[in-house]
Symmetry: C2
Subunit: 164 residues, 2 copies
DNA sequence: GGAATAAGTCAACATGGCTGACATAAAGAC
DNA sequence: GTCTTTATGTCAGCCATGTTGACTTATTCC
């Protein structure tokens, strides 16, 4: 306990660095999410529809409750976009066989096709960024983003993401 | 041109990795942006107000046009939140001296105080993630996020971010 | 058989985007 | 010195997407 002075934070934890990191996240997310807007607009869909299509595509057979937990919205909000997607034939609902109260969600062929079209420019953007940054930078990106996720959610997210 | 076969992409560019990167961005942004919600709600403000306060705080004396370009919204949308912030004394507008048509934007003392309160949990979250991930991961995070930004915007963003 | 759960639905409202039309003041062009 | 352009503000209405609250239906669990 000889040295009671608080050491200054290492440079990568200084306030300016943190602020820069925050702004980078804003700009990257802003540009990343705008990629599919033109396609969505041509279907008269919005970003909310895209999120639903994305997660149902990634988790075929997921329940409505699971989707709600991921999106962090109310079932009334979800009902609007999900209903449109079902009525227009992009998503199909089947009864669970274990639990017939559940409605398991699946993309139809049409839904899968739209999902591919929507994600294509985003995958391209990420691929370019990854290629330019190199594999070590990519590892760092993943590590930091995972650390930004609410700790209590981290396990669940990891399991969901890593499932092939 | 002996080998005409296309080589498989290196593992960090495979489709599954790209998808994981996309989902990480979604989850991290979701949790990151929810931090200041409780504070905002206590002022009857929303995330739109936070964005304005953040960027005016970061760029004192910026013009309305510059703010519009960063936020990518219309002036009518901005007018709603900006008007409230000005009327309630969080942001101050001064005439430009070079160009008196411009309204230069500044946080008031009250605005600065709110900005600190709003950003505090976010800075904490980023600081923890950075500390846990280490400086090399942080460098990678920055590299990749910068690469995700629209190339034509990258210079401008960098200049804006790095300005102290 | 009754309580709890998964999902759906209706209504009303808030936030924060949008377009279009128009006003004002100042700057810049000639 | 007028004319055009630019920076900003404002009104009106619409749309997308979030919220709360109340209620229903079907099914499962105890």
């Amino acid at each position: 306990m000889a040295d009671i002075k608080t050491a200054p934070p290492p440079s990568f934890l200084r306030e300016a660095e943190l602020r820069q990191a925050i702004e980078l996240l804003f700009y990257a997310y802003r540009d990343f999410t705008s990629d599919p807007d033109a396609i969505l607009a041509s279907y008269h869909f919005g970003r909310a529809h895209h999120r639903v299509i994305h997660f149902v595509g990634r988790n075929p057979g997921m329940t409505v409750s699971e989707l709600l937990a991921i999106l962090r919205i109310t079932k009334q909000s979800l009902a609007r976009v999900l209903g449109q997607l079902v009525r227009r034939g992009f998503i199909e609902q089947r009864h669970g066989q274990r639990d017939r109260r559940q409605r398991l969600l699946y993309l139809t062929a049409k839904g899968t096709e739209l999902e591919r079209a929507l994600s294509q420019p985003q995958r391209g953007r990420v691929a370019r960024a990854f290629r330019d940054a190199g594999p070590e930078a990519v590892a760092g990106y993943r590590k930091v983003l995972l650390g930004l996720i609410e700790p209590s959610e981290r396990e669940k997210v990891l399991r969901s993401i890593l499932r092939e």
